[in-house]
């Protein structure tokens, strides 16, 4: 569906608030909306998480199945991440194969999991060169009220942390919890005027010039970044965002992932 052009009067209002250091929903610039996280709701999945970030709602399901390794990594398991922006979630989403926004979302979620080393791929080898565990991470967006990146990433790691490798089902020994070695958390900010606003809602996303997602690991290092939207960002601004991103990620990790 075609987007409705946002009224200038609304844009002016958001800008006017920003100059006063305020946001339409009353949050501070670096404040997240309320987060809720439930795991294990989907019995048919090997791991699952329902994330609510304000009204944004995302369901992530993890499926773990035996399959063939890639020929260049014969003794490593495989991670495949997919995101579905189903038309149920927003008047702006259309049915059909994932578009560039959906693919970018899946790839950024994937990057956090992969580059943080959260999953030890070698431990997922069953028979070198023949059979390994394939971990499918499927992100299903249910309600898009902004900042899908952070909600999806949080859902992915929470689903992985509570996932079981279904070995018994394939006569490969007993089921065991998927070993997770790090906890990547994504934090996203948009730049609007000269201000940096974290966890943007849909209105804030649509007026912003630039968006930056920073994924950090449990030890506070950075394991993935993505700048999106066709705007500029200064080096100083990047450092500012990274600093706050590390703090917020730490809080989220402690509160919701008990790390």
């Amino acid at each position: 569906m075609s987007d409705v052009v946002m009224a200038e009067i609304r844009k002016d209002y958001l800008y006017h608030l920003m100059l006063k250091g305020e946001r339409a929903d009353g949050r501070a610039f670096d404040e997240y909306r309320e987060i809720s996280l439930e795991t294990g709701l989907i019995r048919k999945a090997d791991g699952s998480a329902l994330v609510r970030l304000g009204k944004t709602t995302v369901m992530v399901g993890v499926k773990i199945q035996p399959g063939e390794p890639f020929s260049d990594t014969p003794n490593k398991g495989v991670i495949i991440t997919n995101a579905e922006l189903v038309p149920l979630a927003s008047p702006n989403f259309e049915p059909g194969p994932p578009n560039e926004v959906g693919i970018e979302l899946a790839r950024v979620v994937d990057r956090g999991v992969r580059e943080s080393g959260a999953i030890d791929l070698e431990s997922l080898c069953i028979t070198p060169g023949e059979k390994v565990w394939i971990v499918f991470i499927d992100v299903h967006i249910l309600d898009d009220c902004g900042n899908l990146m952070d909600a999806s990433s949080l859902g992915a790691i929470a689903a992985l942390m509570t996932a079981t490798v279904p070995a018994a089902q394939y006569a490969l020994g007993e089921d065991y919890p998927l070993p997770v070695k790090d906890v990547p958390v994504a934090t996203t900010a948009v730049e609007f005027g000269d201000s940096v606003i974290f966890d943007p809602d849909t209105d804030e996303e649509s007026v912003a010039d630039t968006k930056l997602t920073v994924i950090t690991t449990a030890d506070g290092s950075i394991c993935g970044m993505q700048k999106s939207r066709p705007g500029f960002i200064s080096q100083d601004q990047i450092y500012r965002i990274v600093d706050i991103a590390c703090e917020r990620a730490k809080e989220i990790r402690e509160k919701f992932l008990e790390v």
């Binding site: 409705v4 052009v5 946002m6 009224a7 200038e8 009067i9 609304r10 844009k11 209002y13």
Partner: protein, 225 residues
């Protein structure tokens, strides 16, 4: 099966066994008046009618609405009126004469307008007009959206609710039939006005609302001072 004793009805509920009592939001089947909508049923001038609790705005001639300019095509502005149907504002429907090459100077894409529905044909082609001095471009203030089905409640009996809000809040408030509300005043008053509008939307199906809102405003204003 007779659900007449209750107010909230769902599509198909029987409202009366007298087919002559079929009013707005109802239909007749097997001699019975039934609801077409999920909404509030009531008796009105000998008829049963159902006011929906949700739904889109369907334009009707004479409605005053708030629109957002989406595009400019030939000598028309294409206006989103918060409806399944977009409206067309022809260059000749302005209060003063302007040239075609001046159109985007007068009304830009993204401009908000207070506008009237002039005509709607059977295929839902919607013609708009701004040729009235009470209509025009909104350059100040703020706009909120509520479900269009709650508009009558926000206005109230004889304008009781909206007049009370204007008086208590020192704000200029305009309620578009399409559920868009324009508020103009000082920042604090506008904040409170929009907050109040959203409460009225949420509690539109309850009674005694005007008194409760009046009380709410008293408490809020006391806390402010």
């Amino acid at each position: 099966m007779d659900r007449m004793d209750r107010n909230v009805v769902v599509p198909g509920d029987i409202l009366s066994d007298d087919p002559n009592r079929s009013g707005e939001g109802t239909y007749v089947k097997d001699g019975c008046v039934r609801s077409l909508l999920y909404g509030m049923a009531s008796s009105y001038k000998d008829k049963m009618r159902v006011i929906p609790l949700a739904g889109k705005y369907v334009p009707s001639p004479g409605d005053t609405v708030i629109g957002i300019v989406q595009d400019i095509v030939f000598s028309n502005w294409i206006i989103n009126i918060n409806s399944p149907y977009e409206g067309l504002l022809h260059i000749s429907e302005l209060p003063r004469k302007i040239e075609m090459n001046e159109m985007s100077k007068y009304l830009r894409i993204g401009s908000s307008v207070m506008i009237r529905v002039k005509d709607v044909d059977s295929t839902m082609k919607v013609e708009l007009t701004m040729n009235d001095r009470r209509l025009g471009i909104l350059t100040r203030g703020r706009v909120a959206e509520i479900n269009p089905t709650r508009v009558p409640r926000l206005i109230g009996k004889g304008g009781s609710m909206i007049n009370m809000l204007k008086k208590e809040l020192n704000c200029n408030i305009f309620v578009g039939q399409n559920g868009r509300i324009w508020v103009d005043g000082n920042d604090d008053d506008m904040d409170l006005a929009l907050k109040t509008v959203l409460i009225i939307e949420k509690e539109a199906h309850t009674t005694g609302l005007t008194d409760r809102i009046l009380e709410f405003l008293r408490v809020e204003k006391e806390a402010r001072s």
